[in-house]
Symmetry: C2
Subunit: 119 residues, 2 copies
DNA sequence: GTGATCTAGAACCATGTGGTTTACTATACC
DNA sequence: GGTATAGTAAACCACATGGTTCTAGATCAC
């Protein structure tokens, strides 16, 4: 089972919760980029963009190597896998089981049986 | 393409970034629950738990219906699908392409060609 | 009606977040 | 050596977040 109490998952989901950080991740799918390259398409100052990269590093979504005066970043996708595994646990809830027909049937069943809500 | 600039996705990922809220989601896989049921397993006061439910509602992950004095919550999994779709875009980056061997080959190729980083 | 239960809401507090500006360090280039 | 470039660090700000306590309003059970 994938635990809900996982500080790592906290960091990953939080990192993904900002459009600038998602944009950085997408940019890194093109390969290594330095901070200036990552910052330039974002509508904010350089230090602000730099902070976003740090958040991504904290979530292990980005790894940085220093080459001269440049800091080159690369995508580290493993945490994205963890995030996907967590959300995919609930796949059944957005698929057939909760189609309109099944939902109706379930409601009819509940009315007929009136079972306790707790498992 | 799944956009990075999506306020809906901001809300969903932010909602998932707290262990209490993930626990609530998991609890709701067992069916409808009222607020007291959702709050009791959480190590916090009732108003705090209630706020977490509101965050989940804001992200459309939970829908509430009022029955007498109880507020019954149910899971609304569609936003989880959106989140999964976003993260799954990068599946290739945690799979074969970045296996140890491929990574080595890529590094050798880079050393041989020294291509520009930008596409 | 009385009392217990379920929930909302407001006030408050500490801390975190996301952004800015300014100043500084270190490397590269000529 | 002097200057431009890449990046950090610190100070500051407005606002959000996550928690508490206390008060109050419905509704249910007896």
């Amino acid at each position: 089972m994938v635990l809900d109490h996982s500080p790592r998952l906290d960091l990953v989901f939080h990192a993904l919760a900002h459009p600038a950080r998602r944009a950085i991740i997408r940019q890194l799918t093109g390969g290594e980029r330095n901070l200036s390259e990552l910052a330039s398409p974002l509508k904010m100052t350089f230090p602000a963009a730099s902070k976003h990269v740090r958040v991504l590093e904290g979530a292990k979504l980005v790894r940085r190597r220093i080459a001269g005066r440049e800091h080159l970043c690369r995508l580290e996708a493993a945490p994205l896998k963890d995030a996907t595994l967590w959300t995919e646990q609930f796949r059944q809830f957005w698929e057939t089981r909760f189609s309109a027909l099944d939902e109706l049937l379930e409601e009819m069943k509940q009315q007929a049986e009136a079972p306790p809500r707790k498992p």
